[in-house]
């Protein structure tokens, strides 16, 4: 701890896990910690990738640039970070322009001014793999000591990352889909109430709900919620007996 001040404290990491509503937010906070601890005179761009057997890959990046650099690797399904992640070994590209084996990648990310890249695996349990990626615009950022420090830093994230993976099971549904599912559940329940009240068809009930939303100039979902909470305001078929 004394010789490597790039290590986060356990409290810092636990607080992050406790305060993050979801896995993506947690990972985002983790990259911010990495970037702030590892960045020296020249700022480092950091990104953490987590790949799980079940569920999608999660990528979190300290900056937009780091994000786009990572995403380009996925477009090619190859790159230093994916190599570190899949082979669980450190990948260092000292000079991106001079390194022949990564020439295609250098071409793909040339516009970002990145000169050197270090990707180190973060050990996790079986069933998931993770890597920390550091990008720098300065050559010679990653000397042997820095590499060792960053490897140690990555290892120090292992425990909290494994915990986070357990606490936040992979979520196949992004937030907007979940909110649509919640909304749909409310609408369906309201429709069922309308059907029971009016003894009408499903379609007629949806029509009534839609009509109520239009004539009150309110969102359909809000009307449906009202119906569920105050079962008295159920729309009634006017005149009776159309359907």
């Amino acid at each position: 701890m004394a010789e490597n001040d790039a290590l986060p404290t356990a409290e810092q990491l636990q607080d992050l896990l406790l305060e993050s509503p979801g896995f993506t937010e947690f990972l985002l906070g983790l990259t911010a910690i990495s970037a702030s601890l590892l960045g020296g005179e020249t700022p480092l761009l950091c990104a953490i990738t987590v790949e799980r057997e079940t569920g999608p890959v999660t990528v979190a990046s300290s900056t937009e640039t780091a994000r786009s650099l990572d995403e380009r690797q996925y477009a090619f399904d190859d790159g230093p970070c994916l190599t570190a992640l899949r082979e669980q070994r450190t990948v260092l590209i000292r000079d991106l322009q001079a390194d022949e084996s990564w020439a295609w990648y250098a071409g793909a990310v040339a516009d970002e001014g990145i000169r050197t890249i270090l990707a180190v695996p973060i050990p996790t349990d079986t069933g998931s793999r993770s890597a920390l990626n550091c990008y720098s615009t300065q050559l010679n950022t990653f000397g042997p000591e820095t590499v060792a420090d960053i490897e140690e830093h990555a290892a120090s994230l292992s425990r909290i990352l494994r915990l986070a993976i357990r606490v936040h099971p992979s979520d196949p549904y992004p937030e907007h889909l979940r909110s649509a599912l919640r909304s749909r559940a409310v609408v369906d329940s309201a429709v069922a109430l309308i059907m029971a009240q009016n003894r009408c068809s499903h379609e007629a009930a949806v029509k009534l709900l839609h009509l109520a939303s239009r004539s009150n100039n309110r969102r359909l979902h809000d009307i449906a919620e009202d119906i569920l909470h105050h079962a008295s305001n159920i729309p009634v078929i006017a005149g009776g007996g159309e359907k």
Partner: protein, 81 residues
């Protein structure tokens, strides 16, 4: 239950509504998955491919589904997705 049918025969009127909906969709600058997700959330029953075809004026939909698509577009544009 819904009939899930592919439209009722009212050609001239339906075609107009489709045009209006397609124009609103274009103007609103929202993604098709975004629209479909919202539309599903308020009770829509046609799949995304059907909504896409409808907005490209390739397919007819039952009146209620057209209403729901229109409402979805309106509600999304009223205060952002």
């Amino acid at each position: 239950m819904d009939d899930g049918g592919l439209g009722t025969p009212q050609p001239a009127f339906e075609a107009d509504r489709r045009k209006v909906a397609a124009a609103q969709f274009q103007k609103a600058n929202i993604s098709l998955p975004g629209l479909w997700t919202y539309y599903y959330g308020i009770g829509g029953n046609v799949d995304q491919l059907g909504v896409d075809a409808y907005l490209h004026e390739l397919m007819e939909l039952p009146p209620l589904q057209m209403d729901l698509i229109q409402t979805a577009i309106q509600e999304i544009t009223a205060d952002g997705p």
